[in-house]
Amino acid sequence: MSSVIESHHDDHHHGPAKGLMRWLLTTNHKDIGTLYLWFSFAMFLIGGAMAMVIRAELFQPGMQIVQPEFYNQMLTLHGLIMVFGAVMPAFVGLANWLIPMMVGAPDMALPRLNNLSFWLLPFAFGILLSSLFMEGGAPNFGWTFYAPLSTTYAPPSVTFFIFSVHIMGASSIMGSINVIVTIMNMRAPGMDLMKMPLFVWSWLITAYLLIAVMPVLAGAVTMMLMDIHFGTSFFNAAGGGDPVLFQHIFWFFGHPEVYIMILPAFGIISHIIETFARKQLFGYESMVWAMLSIAILSFVVWAHHMFTVGMPLAAELFFMWATMLIAVPTGVKVFNWVATMFKGSISFETPMLFAIAFVVLFTIGGFSGLMLSIVPADFQYHDTYFVVAHFHYVLVPGSIFSIMAAVYYWIPKWTGNMYDERMGRLHFWLSFVGVNVTFFPQHWIGLAGMPRRYPDYALQFADWNMVSTAGAFLFGASQILFLFIVLKTVLGGKKATPQVWEGARGLEWSVESPAPYHTFSTPPKVK
């Protein structure tokens, strides 16, 4: 590309354009990061509202509020929106804001692609949500959209679902290409790979995972499209296809996908813990290797999601052991976080509270995952609320707590204002209590045999479902408080220093707060 010659006048800084067009046309990584974060927050609230419908219906046994058909639509959209609309874009938003500043680059490597990959998302989710108003209703086959539920028996809106998945997939792929090109080519001189901040490392690995599996997801929905409209039989036994093939393809995407949703969290938590423990992170190199091995192993464990399809013993054993092996690098990470806190002079600001809760609660989710990996036990747990409890423990107090921790940690850098510490702590404690009251009892009702994805249940599960619903509404309501805290911080507050936190290290803390519109136009020197 032609080299752009910029005339440097000290008194002349390019600020953002004015008005709405700034956001539509922006190629600035900070603007796009902000867009991503607000978009994912909006999706988090919409998907959360759907979760409230689900929990309200399950408050008591029997049908109370919604019809089973609508319940299934809520269930499906809740899953899709939270995975693809809330968690993933939030991490991409953080990547946009932080990666260029952390590696000392002036912007992302492909700024226009960056703009496109964000602006695809509102269209993708607009299409998905519009299916609620279509004849036959929104997709109702669960976020895993197993064939033939999603092909032969799907509502007509499935075609819109397929296109929206294609669009969000394209957006993720472009976003991850951008991340990799930036990290591989735009690091400040002196920043070797093994000197990169862990959030950058975690995103580098995540982006490779995305590039490897999002096209497979696109392939899966393309096959569905062809089965539905063009008379092929990829997943139709009558024409020589196989519905189990769908599950294999889906989970070949799906298992790396769950690590896509947790690896950036590992990076965030490492930064926060080392800052508030006021110690250097214990075992930086082992953290990198642990993430790499988790990423590689994620490609050979997919069939543990489908132990009950009738697999031969050898395959069950292979997938069981491979799955259990993942506990080793994950254990290394948890050990390193605890070792970093050990004998540190810890202070408990809101980001640290969320980070410590992450370590504890994510580990609980990891242990229930280990239980699920045991084949004979999985035959009992499969498709029960135990599974629901497991993946919500790794996603809500895992991924989502890490995103909230990141927002509290970096928002002074983004806005130049400190958030209200007392309100932040209140938000943490309400969320912490809410999340545990919601999801911990689901372990028990799952072990007792309550199946997932039904709008009704047997009477013996009534008490804990009522508790779970109460917790869900507490958690949901406390996110309104989060919205309020963020808005209040954007509008004003105590001014933040450049370093913000006493123990903070890294290039992003070397620029002023709020970070200027353009940072590191000349690369910094990294020792």
Partner: protein, 183 residues
């Protein structure tokens, strides 16, 4: 954008397209994998010229199971539900079908074997599942299966279930209305 960034961009784009095609390659790979390992009840026709006959056979029970796929109105059932067979000896079984509608219809039966590790030892010389079945309105037929168990079948297997699911594929040849017909 400098040269090395362009190179990174190029190989990443290639990887994206590669993985998209890989997802389609998974379809034949899956079939090959199932065939090689004999998984998934995908039964291969017995190879010509290979003799599985032997005189050192043992007794084995085979159960026949029939299913109708959704909205398949035909009557479909095994003539005998249980047979005692000897391994290493050819046996014959039949399934009764009747098209009890007033339309000509085409069907295909898809087989499956349980336990799955018995699959590779069950060899079929002749099976109605190898081809499509066409029946005129009201027509009925006895569909034959000729099979043999390889004598090398593990000692632990004493009961084998051979199940067929029959699918209506009458409209399947009209590309337009693959399976949205009538719904």
């Amino acid at each position: 954008m400098n040269k090395s960034a362009k190179r990174t961009l190029k190989y990443l784009s290639l990887a994206v397209f590669g993985m998209f095609f890989f997802s389609f390659a998974l379809v034949p790979l899956y079939d090959v994998f199932c065939e090689v390992t004999g998984l998934n009840g995908k039964i291969s026709q017995s190879e010509e010229g290979v003799s599985y006959e032997s005189n050192t056979g043992r007794d084995l029970t085979i159960q026949f199971v029939s299913h109708n796929a959704e909205q398949m109105p035909w009557i479909f059932r095994p003539s005998e539900k249980i047979m005692k067979v000897k391994t290493g000896k050819y046996s014959n079984a039949t399934f009764f079908v009747k098209n009890n509608t007033d339309k000509p219809m085409t069907a295909r039966a898809v087989p499956s074997v349980a336990p799955s590790n018995a699959n590779e030892y069950l060899k079929k010389l002749e099976c109605f599942c190898f081809e499509e079945q066409f029946l005129a309105p009201g027509e009925e037929a006895l569909l034959p299966v000729r099979f043999i168990f390889d004598s090398n079948i593990p000692e632990s297997i004493n009961n084998v279930a051979l199940s067929y699911t029959i699918f209506d594929i009458t409209n399947y040849n009209d590309m337009e209305m693959a399976h949205h017909d009538g719904r």
